[in-house]
């Protein structure tokens, strides 16, 4: 009989311990909150943003972003700084690589638990339901936009003028390269108006002479930076774009326009001048890109990534340079666009939207905060912050500022579309796969172009 009672108790204990597992989260939160109270005691700094709420009310915010290790380190530093300034605010942060970030985000969207503050790029249309517009907070002054000019506010607005978030910075795509390797291979350095033929020839010669990749790969971003930019370089300025401006269909009608680009890529992969699929998977972030490891002479970058790799290479006595993307014709359109690198948004699921908005405002406008962030996410949109940072720029950052200035001097169409419609991920993966099929000789570049076009048009 005793045995049976014992058995029953054990079973109950098991059920209870199972339930306890599920509750783990809340217990850690309580300890975390206790921590903040201790810090609260020795900080007396007043915080403007909390005037609307009770000063001692605990606010827990969740925040997430993607990026490189440098970004993780400085963002965590800034978050700790904000917690010191606002003792009642506790920010739980998570960071991921690009792909993992969006996988996680999708599951949170499904369970209505999106982080209070989250980072989004040009693919925001897919998540727009989850974005809480900042318009009201801008009107009430919780989000301070005094230092941000209208044109910079516009880059993170939708077509109806809703403020989706505040931009983390401006950027544009470019090709980073090592001039010493170009010299060693006897290849001329890129110019402002170099063409894809120049690019291909340079890469091929470098591979032949130095036995390294001519250019490193940009993995999935290749679709936007490469293939999509390429279409914009046809005809007159603004005549073509990959998707049309209002996201209702394609921005060009002849699939054959994609063929030369796909053919060039396949030729380069076959010649060993561009990483094949296997080598591409070895690149996990910009810090171990083949240009950085010395296995390639060029790589694709978003301008804001440049200072990071510049500094790493400088430590090895290599000085990198930054060139614009090649064009189809030297006197043709550049296809380039100055865009928002990413933005911070407030989520619809947030319990403390106001506190989240206040943090975003501080993040983009505060000089101390940005002196840590150093424009790593892109050139800051706040005028004062931008002027301060560019005045004290490191050599790598100076290259970035000069580069973005130069590209903004290029002739650009009045309206551009840099957004990714829902469904682009599949098009992108298939496109990269078709290129591999071309390299293995399974299909021709024409067929790959046709298939990519069909995939893309089937989104709509």
């Amino acid at each position: 009989m005793k045995k049976q009672i014992l058995a029953f108790l054990l079973a109950v204990a098991m059920v209870l311990s199972l339930a306890a597992c599920g509750n783990n989260d809340s217990s850690t939160e309580t300890t975390a909150a206790a921590d903040t109270t201790t810090t609260a005691a020795d900080t007396t700094t007043e915080a403007e943003s909390e005037e609307t709420t009770t000063a001692d009310e605990e606010i827990n915010l969740r925040m997430a972003w993607w990026g490189s290790q440098t970004r993780h380190d400085i963002t965590v530093e800034v978050i700790e700084m904000y917690e010191d300034l606002n003792p009642n605010v506790k920010i739980e942060y998570e960071f991921y690589s690009f792909d993992d970030y969006f996988t996680k985000l999708k599951t949170l969207v499904a369970s209505d638990q999106v982080w209070d503050i989250f980072q989004l790029g040009g693919n925001f249309p897919m998540y727009q339901d989850k974005i809480f517009y900042l318009n009201d907070y801008i009107d009430s002054g919780i989000v301070d936009v005094a230092g941000i000019s209208d044109s910079y506010l516009k880059i993170t607005q939708d077509t109806e003028g809703n403020q989706l978030g505040l931009s983390n910075g401006l950027n544009t795509y470019g090709i980073a390269y090592d001039p010493a390797m170009f010299a060693e291979a006897g290849v001329a350095e890129p110019t402002e108006t170099w063409t894809w033929d120049d690019y291909k020839n340079a890469a091929m010669t470098i591979t032949e002479k130095l036995d390294i990749f001519g250019s490193s790969s940009f993995t999935t971003s290749d679709f936007i930076a490469g293939c999509s930019t390429y279409i914009g370089q046809y005809g007159d300025i603004g005549e073509y774009s990959f998707f049309n401006l209002d996201h209702t269909g394609m921005g060009f009608d002849d699939p054959a326009m994609l063929t030369p680009f796909i053919q060039m890529r396949a030729d380069m992969i076959n010649a060993g001048a561009y990483p094949d699929a296997g080598a591409s998977t070895e690149i996990t972030n910009i810090e171990n890109d083949f240009l950085v490891t010395g296995e390639a002479a060029m790589t694709w970058v978003a301008a804001n990534q440049f200072p990071t790799i510049y500094d790493i290479c400088l430590a090895e006595d290599r000085t990198l340079k930054l060139a614009p993307l090649p064009r189809i014709k030297a006197d043709g359109p550049s296809g380039a666009a100055i865009q928002s690198s990413q933005m911070l948004c407030v989520s619809q699921d947030s319990q403390s939207k106001e506190a989240a908005a206040a943090f975003i405002s501080w993040f983009q406008n505060d000089p101390d905060c940005n002196s840590i962030l150093q424009g790593e996410r892109g050139i800051p949109v706040n005028n004062t912050v931008r002027d301060t940072l560019s005045a004290s720029a490191t050599p790598g950052q100076q290259v970035m500022y000069d580069f973005v200035n130069m590209v903004s001097g290029f002739e650009m169409p009045e309206k551009i579309n840099v957004l990714s419609p829902d469904g682009q991920d599949l098009v992108q993966d298939n496109y990269l796969n078709y290129i591999q099929q071309v390299t293995f000789g399974e299909i021709t570049a024409e067929e790959a172009a046709q298939k990519t076009y069909d995939d893309a048009s089937s989104i709509f």
Partner: protein, 305 residues
């Protein structure tokens, strides 16, 4: 008074009933099964007829559209074929390897337990992300294997760049996790009466003869069990493909589980992914059925006809 006593007595016999105790013990499992398996299974069946997506969170009934689209999807066929290749190559390799090790470890030696534990370790860590990353590094262009090849003057192999080769490192990783089937084989080997071997020895049977005539037949029910379990596990492989190759090159390592994951979480087609899962269920049931049906031909049972 009397009534209460009877009630009390019934209560006691209910609590002390073996069935009740059993169910209470099974409760944690039943709870887990219902909430983490049964409910998701029912939902996925429903979703496979809808266009459910994690992004929009709306599920509209679209009938068999998902299934029709799946049969038009070239990546689906490729991933199905590659998964079959993976299963057909990795499972027999893994079983023969684990049987070999188990056989070697039946010897009477004090260190046997230690060795068994050591050989079991890969099974504990093998499915993890960490080991997948190590594997990726080992077979990388400048990884350990290529460095060794290079040092002894052989040409290096671009494992993950060649669509015909890329799947073999994944197969090897699966073979390396032979521990659980090894333990089961070891237990099975112990069950074979030594008298059989002694009798065979007296009749002059050689080592390999007694292995093929005694060990294998006596072990065949265990082999069947391991075969079924490992086949099912191999069909569901996912981590290796996601971490090591991401499915490439040219989808040659796009294992079925990875493609389902991509459709569900990357391309936002949860309905499509659910439909794919049900197709996999049918394929797996067919394969398992074939193994069971064919077992009459090769599984030896002592009580049998």
């Amino acid at each position: 008074m009397k009534g209460a006593a009877i009630k009390n007595g019934r209560m006691r016999s209910l609590i002390y009933n073996d069935n009740t105790v059993g169910h209470i013990f099974a409760l944690p499992f039943i709870f887990g099964f219902i909430s983490f398996s049964l409910i998701p299974i029912v939902f996925s069946f429903y979703y496979s007829f809808t266009d459910y997506s994690l992004g929009t969170k709306t599920a509209e009934w679209i009938g068999f559209v998902n299934f029709v689209n799946i049969f038009k999807d070239e990546v689906f066929f490729k991933s199905l074929l590659k998964t079959l290749q993976y299963v057909v190559v990795s499972v027999p390799l893994k079983l023969s390897f684990s049987l070999m090790i188990a056989f070697l470890l039946t010897r009477k030696s004090k260190l046997v337990t230690l060795y068994r534990s050591l050989y079991y370790i890969p099974s504990l860590v093998g499915g993890s992300v960490a080991v997948a990353l190590v594997w990726k590094q080992l077979f990388a262009r400048r990884g350990l294997f290529n460095t060794v090849l290079d040092n002894i003057g052989l040409p290096t192999i671009n494992w993950f760049g060649d669509q015909n080769l890329a799947i073999y490192p994944l197969i090897l990783l699966s073979v390396w996790q032979f521990g659980s089937s090894m333990i089961i084989f070891a237990a099975g080997l112990k069950e074979i009466p030594t008298t059989y071997y002694e009798a065979a020895k007296i009749d002059g049977a050689k080592g390999y003869q007694s292995f093929f005539r005694i060990t294998l037949p006596c072990l065949s029910p265990i082999i069947q069990y391991n075969l079924v379990m490992q086949t099912i596990a191999a069909f569901m492989s996912f981590t290796q493909a996601l971490i090591i190759t991401g499915g490439g090159p040219n989808n040659s390592t796009m294992l079925y589980g990875l493609y389902v994951y991509n459709q569900a979480f990357k391309y936002n087609n949860m309905g499509y992914a659910s439909a794919m899962s049900w197709i996999m269920l049918i394929v797996m049931s067919l394969v398992t059925m074939v193994i069971f049906k064919s077992s009459k031909l090769w599984v030896f049972s002592e009580s049998g006809d």
